[in-house]
Symmetry: C2
Subunit: 393 residues, 2 copies
């Protein structure tokens, strides 16, 4: 992969800094993206317009030489941490090691992520390094990696394919369930959110994907967009299934939501589902390079408002109706730039975003429909291939 770091170069030039430094583990997507390397224990990386360098433990050195996209791979032991510990004490070892590493790469001043370790920032300053953290959590590298290469799009497509198979496995459970006293039954037991979640997770593992969380939320649970759902699923209630797996090899995510009702839906459920699908289509019609995330969000707000539903964008205090944003970027992180919301920035070709309108009310339940798409110059390509049908017989 060959990311385009022109925006990062411009940032460093504008702030008159030599490089951009990281100190974190593989959970830091900006670090992984910039260096092409991840490790379970923290390591240090620095980007300059001339080279990318990383500083790793001896245990990771061999793998780093093979896997990292870095021009320079240094071993921590080269900087004699044991001798430094004896001379300066344990508290100053890391700042001594890292400042010498930066000097080796010709770096005297660095930008960092907002979340760079404060202890190391203070320590490096003691050693004479200028450290200038970004002022907000979403930084310049986050913006760079929001625009996907063709290779990254393939990774998202692969994760989304697994996602669709997992959704099909979940829907099949609901379809095969019988109903007793209004509760879904499967293999002689009540069919629970937990059981459906397990089936989704097993389906994803079979396809090389992992996930920490899945939402299978029914009835009142579904009315809270952050509720993961629990307990028996009920016929005639909406069931929101929201799956966001990560492919373990590529580390890229997908994201999709569908809403089901076992048996016959009520008129209200059907209306909500139809207007939400209308909102989804209106948002998609607004997507193209040059449009803003705010405009796409507004398309959803307009549809809901015309249909008489409250939204947090028209009434900030509402607790029912459309109470979250329209969408977000997806990539190495399941939530990343750009934002499809108020103040959402301009979309660029290659942005991968979700479009996920929804309506919520504890008295009715919740309805959400979510597709994942890639922004193109004159519109979008929908990466989602799954039917949008409310009722499951």
């Amino acid at each position: 992969m060959d990311p385009d770091f022109a925006a990062l170069d411009a940032y460093l030039d504008e702030h008159n800094l030599d490089g951009y430094a990281f100190a974190d583990d593989e959970s830091n997507s900006d670090l992984y993206y910039t260096t092409g390397f991840g490790a379970p224990d923290p390591f240090v990386g620095v980007y300059t317009p001339d080279e990318t360098a990383i500083l790793v433990s001896s245990l990771e050195y061999g793998r780093a030489k093979k896997e990292a996209r870095a021009d320079t791979v240094k071993r921590r032991s080269e900087y004699e941490p044991r001798e430094k510990q004896a001379e300066y004490g344990e508290d100053r070892v890391q700042q001594k090691v890292v400042s010498e590493f930066l000097a080796d790469v010709g770096v005297e001043s660095v930008a960092t992520q907002h979340g760079f370790p404060a202890g190391l920032a203070d320590g490096l300053r003691e050693e004479g390094v200028t450290v200038d953290p970004e002022s907000t959590a979403s930084g310049v590298v986050t913006d760079v990696r929001a625009v996907k290469t063709e290779e990254e799009l393939e990774y998202v497509r692969e994760a989304q394919k697994a996602n669709e198979n997992a959704m099909a496995a979940a829907e099949a459970l609901i379809r095969e369930a019988t109903v007793e006293d209004g509760v879904l039954q499967y293999e002689g037991e009540p069919l629970t959110s937990e059981r459906v979640t397990e089936e989704i997770e097993v389906a994803l593992i079979r396809e090389g994907c992992a996930l920490d969380e899945t939402i299978v939320a029914c009835g009142a649970d579904a009315a809270d967009p952050h509720d993961r759902g629990s307990g028996p699923l009920e016929a005639g209630e909406t069931i929101i299934i929201d799956i966001f797996p990560r492919n373990k090899a590529s580390k890229y995510h997908a994201d999709m939501t569908r809403t089901f009702v076992k048996g016959e839906a009520t008129d209200t459920q059907r209306d909500w589902h139809a207007v939400t699908d209308e909102a989804r289509k209106a948002a998609l019609d607004a997507v193209e390079a040059g449009a803003t995330g705010e405009e796409v969000n507004q398309a959803v707000v307009d549809v809901y408002q015309d249909a008489g539903h409250p939204t947090v964008f028209t009434d900030p205090d509402t607790e029912t109706g459309f109470i979250h944003s329209t969408g977000h970027g997806v990539g190495l992180d399941v939530h990343e730039a750009p934002s499809i919301s108020l103040n959402g920035e301009e979309l660029e070709a290659g942005h991968v975003i979700t479009i996920e309108p929804g309506l919520y009310d504890p008295a009715v339940g919740g309805v959400r429909i979510e597709d994942i798409v890639v922004v193109t110059e004159d519109g979008y390509e929908n990466l989602t291939d799954y039917p949008i049908e409310l009722e499951v017989e």
Copy 2:
């Protein structure tokens, strides 16, 4: 749960600071332990000897009121971020909000983790708050939570039980496999590391556990303790299986390793396995409250040295033999305090640690045996219940 924060109180008193502040998401175990709350998006927490307070988004407020162990739960919107954005600009919103929150709790000076966000530390200082990050990554809260309560021990036991079932599923695959041209075959295909890993993951999911990584490493792969393993498994080669799941509900981990040979092991493999088990027993004999992690590690080094195997502790440059530490703490993190290694600190009753000696050489493969135990006043309780047998027929 009712953790004992006396050591944290003493730290604050010693450094003359009002409180200990965090700003991170649920992946930060110190924050989760201190506040009893986790959320996928970053939130702020502050501990003082008088109260624990958290600052969360409106979306998390309801759940935080219910779930958090905090005395005070504040909503971000109470601090009028929109008005602050208009007045001070986006870059200063967070520092204004957080400094006002700290003032509400009566806090003017804070200790923080080493990894506290540097951007927020600088911002809070601009607002007149004293911010004093810890000088090393493993901090005072990490040490506090290393000592487990009875409730936490139950969580580890539960995760370890699932771990043993997953290991049994993996061993069963190896047992049921046939051998063709030296390669294990299962259901008409070569049995691969990936297939065994999948079986382990599915077994864990069925028991409410998750995991990001598993090691199923055969032959030369097994000679590298960090190699996850890949490709077909071979008869007559050592197969290291190292499983470290996290229970999704409790968030606590377990950790166990066994080494298998399909068919007949060589004399060298048998010797290595026997001396490694001897090292395991010697380390366990050394475990008790008041012993140091260094002493327990030395017990392993002594056994290997007496048997003529190199170790990194006797020869820092060796690339074969015993090339990692004896063990580590296990809890909310799979690797946490205390360290069972050089400079390993004094053990306390309630520490949960691994004992995992191993030998490695690309010419032979790798052998590792790992148990998880809890330190007691006069020894240890082994939380591991799984046979130690090399050969699988």
